[in-house]
């Protein structure tokens, strides 16, 4: 700690005088219109909670699905309207008393998250895949989350046709948090948003209908580690607050830049770089955890595997978008002046993430775990773009996130289709010969895998090229080379799955592909469409990301 804090009476006088000049709380001034996407989502979530209470059980499902879809669509419309009005570019500003930024990256990412969530709702609502239980269509979620798996209570719940329709409000709450997360313009908002979207996710993880033990285990692991990481984040926030005397991004960055008005207290704390550096490190760690970067990635495979697959898809796609958004804002708005400090560290993290993700994935035998490690490797690629620290870096990351999230969503949606008696057949050996039995499903999955692998003409390639290009221009050519090498390693396991699907003889007792309702089909179709459109004609979206690539400060 700072030696300056030990200076006796002088400090004490400052201490008391400071206490006497405490600010009064100003009257809050909220720009409701500009926060409308968030407000809509939260509002609809509330309505959803109420619906749980008041709508009769048999129509709850319909009500919730409609609510969620309408709410998300409305929020998306609001985002588009805001962007149309120029809040992404010329009118970008900071709203809600400095708590939330309304700017290009925020709107772009909010739009992406909302679309992802909208598609995710389709997969959440799917009720045709599982065999009917007692004459009722059932979805992927436990009949009653609190019931002991296999116990009498659960049986009774299934018989009674209970379903956990609470997942929709939970989803909406999570989405609300995610919307704020990348837009958060002070550290407190950041922290609260983090918790707001994390807590519903913890619960969602625990709600799988099949493999409930694994589902609960995933939830507990996710929860404990998540809480652990948010403690780090919070402590980091505390240290930064201690350093700068403020938690608002602009406040901190102006202190770092030395443009802030120096009060005696500031003069004291800013003399202590350790506060700043450790604070940065810990806040970054908190975000890297959510992103799934090595070595903070270890929750990913277990949670991805255990969670209900629709939740995994949503989580993998949306969390990553939100978390990277927050990370970008933090690094670009708060800490640009510190980039000589954080860049080398991020280099190391990016390299470790790319290589470890790709290497460990090579020997995976479960599709969901495989995709989890693949998401780790992708986090590494995105980090390479983050490191570029220029406008290209931002827009390339934005583009990558949009491209990646739909591929992921689509891939997990396909995973829900391949089933046997025990539910989803996620062990890779069960996928052998899928291409012979269901060429279309296998082909679609192959498209997603190729996009993951970054084969040209898919969105994965465009995204990868964009971030690597930004990294190279930012002088991080070695990162590009590491990225390329790990892409090659990664390609190996994507290809392995394709080999398995197309070139292996189907097993006699192999899983069958369930015929989904239009809901999942739509989700998958959207995934494929986005993958191909962003691969073939990415220009419009690149422009969009480019326009959106400026943070407001």
């Amino acid at each position: 700690m700072s030696a300056a804090l030990h200076t006796g009476p002088a400090v004490h006088s400052m201490w008391t005088s400071a206490a006497s000049t405490t600010d009064r709380f100003p009257t809050p001034h909220i720009e409701y219109a500009q926060l409308s996407p968030v407000l809509i989502v939260f509002g609809v979530a509330m309505v959803g909670v109420l619906a749980e209470a008041f709508v009769p059980r048999r129509s709850r499902y319909t009500a919730q699905v409609v609510l969620a879809i309408v709410g998300l669509a409305a929020a998306f419309a609001a985002v588009v309207a805001l962007a149309e009005k120029g809040y992404g570019t010329t009118k970008a500003h900071i709203a809600a008393m400095g708590a939330v930024a309304v700017d290009g990256p925020a709107l772009f990412l909010q739009g992406t998250i909302l679309l992802v969530a909208l598609v995710a709702v389709f997969t959440f609502a799917e009720r045709r895949l599982d065999p009917m239980a007692h004459g009722q269509h059932v979805d992927s979620f436990a009949a009653q989350g609190s019931a002991v798996p296999g116990g009498d209570q659960e049986k009774a719940a299934v018989r009674a046709g209970f379903t956990t329709t609470e997942v929709f409000p939970l989803l909406l709450f999570a989405v609300g948090g995610m919307l704020i997360f990348p837009a958060a313009n002070d550290l407190l908002t950041l922290f609260v948003a983090l918790e707001v979207f994390s807590l519903p996710l913890y619960i969602l993880c625990a709600l799988a209908r099949r493999n409930r033990l694994m589902s609960q285990e995933a939830a507990v692991k996710y929860f404990l580690l998540g809480a652990f990481s948010s403690a780090f984040l919070l402590f980091g926030i505390a240290l930064l607050y201690g350093y700068a005397g403020s938690v608002s991004y602009s406040g901190i960055s102006s202190v770092i830049d030395g443009t802030a008005k120096i009060t005696p207290a500031l003069a004291d704390t800013t003399g202590n770089d350790a506060l700043l550096l450790i604070g940065i490190a810990m806040v970054t760690v908190g975000l890297l955890f959510k992103v799934g970067a090595v070595p903070f990635h270890m929750w990913t495979p277990d949670v991805y595997q255990g969670a209900p697959t629709p939740v995994t898809g949503f989580m993998a796609a949306a969390t990553k978008v939100a978390a990277f958004g927050a990370l970008l804002r933090l690094l670009y708005v708060v800490l640009p002046g510190m980039r000589w400090d954080w860049r080398p560290v991020m280099w190391g993290v990016a390299i470790a993430t790319m290589i470890a993700g790709a290497v460990i994935a090579v020997t995976q035998t479960d599709v969901k775990r495989l995709l989890a490690y693949s998401s780790v490797a992708h986090a590494g690629f995105i980090l390479a773009g983050v490191i570029a620290t220029d406008k290209d870096g931002v827009s390339s990351v934005l583009f990558y996130l949009a491209a990646y999230s739909f591929v992921t969503l689509g891939a997990f949606a396909v995973v829900t289709l391949v089933r046997d008696a025990g539910g989803e057949a996620t062990h890779l050996s069960r996928w052998a010969g899928l291409g012979r039995r269901s060429p279309l499903v296998a082909a679609v999955f192959a498209v997603f895998l190729l996009a993951f692998a970054g084969i040209p003409l898919t969105s994965g390639f465009a995204g990868k090229f964009a971030v690597f290009k930004a990294a190279a221009q930012g002088g991080a050519m070695p990162l590009v080379i590491v990225g390329v090498i790990s892409s090659a390693i990664a390609a190996f396991f994507y290809i392995r799955v394709i080999v398995l699907m197309f070139f292996s003889e189907p097993k006699a007792d192999g899983p069958s592909v369930a015929v989904p309702s239009p809901l999942t089909s739509t989700a998958i179709a959207v995934g494929v469409a986005v993958t191909l459109v962003l691969g073939l004609a990415p220009q419009y979206f690149l422009d969009l990301a480019d326009k959106a690539g400026v943070f407001v400060r």
Partner: protein, 634 residues
């Protein structure tokens, strides 16, 4: 007239095309058609010849440019023909003897179901050989050169169901390819030296080039010699010729006696200007020639297979030609002259051998012959005349041509001259020996016939007209050609404008040489008569001396090839296959495996315990914090 040159080549080429792609509808008429195309070519040749005779000696060459073959910057290969006296000589020999052998084959191949194809190949050969001798540049010559190699390959292996034939064919092609390598390197050297490989560009400037580019010119000479060695079965690339006798006998007569194998001589004589400018290369040429003439002769002495004995003889006779060609302007003309006379008598001898085999159930072992003169009088007489011609019986063709070469060898002067001359003389003696041996074992003595593998008793009989007539015509050539060429030095005058000629300064008089040759001849014949005429011939070959046994195995040269090249090559390829799999591929597979291994190990970190995940996070945080602080410190 110029168009006629093209037609000369086109006729047999057309024949080959028709016969080889025409399918079964030509099965009945194929042989006649093939013969017709050969004859047509001969007629064209004769017309051109007559036309040429009508012209001034210095103005006889015809040129005909057809089209640009390979038009590439700096490398303009043309398809063009040049018909001068040298080419003319070959054209007549090729089409003449070729036509005769086509006719002969009509009878010889009568019972072969694939006769049409045989004639197709023969036509293909004629076309390629004509291309070779008519080309006006080395690249086109090379095309013909490989073309005859292909025809030779196809014909040696004509009876493909016999593994020995297929192997022999392959061997011939491969050994020839080594020679071809020489030719192509030679052409490349010409290209880098002269910027061209047309005769008209290279040859006239060879002497000039020798001044500044001596080593290069010598190199070209050596490369051309290598090519000649391959095609003409000269040491060290002679090994294929003996095996080539697996082919039908007319093929042996045409390709492996009269024409194709002499292409090497043509090449050296054609490139005389280069060799004249490269004395070292010339020395190499005469050395090769001298060695081969003895080598072939010795091998010829030991063979019991009539065709292989004749093959050894061919090798030896071509050795004479090559040696003569290596002597420079003193020898060029005589090399060609011997080539022509040899074409007659050796083709005659082979056809005779074929006739014998035809009558003897395709038996080739001379120890199973004996006393055939009574059964095949025409064959006996024509073969006998050929025999007399080859041993150089006074007045017959071989006498004139061979004597000239021996003379020229002495005329080379100095120690070299003496060595070469003596080698040639010794060769003459051995020639007399082995040819007398062949003659005696085949046509004289008691019958030693045995039933063939299927138990058919041989019924020796004279061959049909289609076979005997060509033999008779060739016998005429064997008898009179040499004399005709020598009257008034007509052949020398005919060729001189192309090859140049100079009378050497022989330290030994012509008379002495002739006398010495005669003595050698008598000795050779005498010894042979003592061994095979007076005594009866054992039906199974005696074990023989070390030399004899070596000679039977082609003086172990083949064994050397086998051990060093074949075995060595097998080991090399086998170890390379292994290396490719284990090392080159292994490195890649190994690195893939090591990624897999690393993956397996890293994977174990993911042990499923929340607390260890937390450790990893805490550790990671510590590292990140420490690194951040460290960055500042640095």
């Amino acid at each position: 007239m110029e168009t006629l040159i093209g037609l000369l080549v086109a006729a047999p080429l057309l024949g080959a095309g028709v016969l080889l792609t025409g399918g079964r509808r030509f099965d009945r008429t194929g042989h006649l058609l093939g013969t017709l195309f050969a004859l047509l070519s001969f007629v064209f040749g004769m017309v051109l010849f007559v036309n040429m005779l009508g012209k001034n000696a210095d103005d006889r060459a015809l040129h005909s440019h057809l089209f640009t073959w390979v038009p590439v910057e700096g490398f303009q290969a043309q398809v063009g023909f040049q018909l001068d006296q040298l080419s003319m000589t070959f054209v007549l020999l090729i089409t003449g003897v070729g036509t005769l052998i086509h006719i002969y084959s009509i009878g010889y191949m009568e019972h072969d179901e694939r006769r049409r194809r045989f004639f197709g190949y023969l036509n293909l050969f004629l076309a390629a050989m004509l291309l070779l001798v008519l080309a006006d540049n080395y690249l086109l010559l090379y095309a013909g050169w490989e073309g005859v190699g292909l025809a030779s390959y196809l014909l040696i292996g004509f009876w493909q169901h016999k593994p020995s034939a297929a192997t022999a064919a392959k061997k011939a092609f491969l050994v020839n390819r080594v020679g071809d390598m020489g030719l192509s390197i030679g052409i490349m050297l010409m290209f880098t030296t002269f910027g061209s490989f047309a005769f008209s560009n290279v040859l006239p400037r060879a002497a000039q080039a020798a001044g500044t580019q001596h080593a290069t010119i010598t190199g070209i000479g050596f490369m051309l010699l290598l090519a000649a060695c391959g095609k003409s079965a000269q040491v060290p690339l002679q090994s294929w010729l003996g095996d080539a006798m697996e082919g039908p006998t007319p093929v042996s007569a045409l390709i492996h006696a009269a024409t194709m194998v002499t292409a090497g001589v043509y090449l050296i004589v054609r490139s005389g200007a280069i060799f004249n400018a490269a004395p070292d290369a010339q020395t190499a040429v005469v050395t090769v020639g001298a060695v081969t003439l003895l080598f072939g002769a010795i091998v010829g002495c030991a063979k019991d297979d009539i065709k292989k004995a004749l093959a050894g003889s061919t090798m030896s006779q071509i050795g004479y030609m090559i040696m003569a060609a290596g002597l420079g302007p003193i020898g060029y003309v005589f090399a060609i002259m011997h080539l022509v006379t040899h074409g007659f008598f050796k083709a005659g001898l082979f056809l005779g051998a074929g006739s014998v085999m035809h009558g003897m159930n395709d038996e080739v072992d001379m120890r199973r012959y004996g006393g055939l003169r009574k059964f095949m009088p025409i064959t006996f007489v024509t073969f006998g005349l050929g025999y007399l011609a080859i041993i150089g019986f006074p007045g017959l063709s071989g006498f004139f041509s061979k004597d000239k070469i021996i003379e020229a060898a002495y005329a080379k002067g100095g120690t070299e001259g003496w060595i070469l001359g003596s080698a040639a003389l010794l060769g003459a003696a051995i020639t007399a020996f082995y040819m007398t041996r062949v003659m005696l074992m085949t046509f004289f003595g008691e019958k030693r016939w045995v039933p063939d593998a299927e138990g058919h008793e041989p019924h020796p009989h004279e061959s049909p007209k289609s076979m005997t007539v060509p033999m008779i015509i060739l016998a005429f050539g064997s008898v009179f050609a040499g004399g005709l060429f020598s009257i008034n030095s007509s052949f020398v005058k005919w060729l001189e404008p192309v090859t140049g000629h100079s009378e050497g300064n022989s330290p030994v008089s012509t008379g002495t040489v002739t006398a010495a040759t005669m003595v050698c001849l008598v000795i050779g014949v005498g010894i042979a008569w003592l061994m095979y005429g007076r005594r009866s011939v054992p039906a199974v070959a005696p074990r023989g001396s070390l030399v004899t046994r070596a000679a039977r195995r082609d003086l172990l040269q083949d064994d050397f090839n086998h051990v060093v090249l074949v075995r060595g090559g097998e080991h090399l390829t086998r170890s390379l296959v292994y290396l490719d799999h284990s090392l080159v591929d292994g490195v890649v597979n190994g690195s893939a495996a090591s990624v897999g291994g690393l993956s397996g190990r890293l994977r174990r970190l993911q042990n499923g315990y929340v607390r260890s995940y937390a450790v990893s996070m805490l550790g990671g945080t510590a590292v990140v914090v420490a690194a951040t602080l460290l960055m500042r410190a640095v």
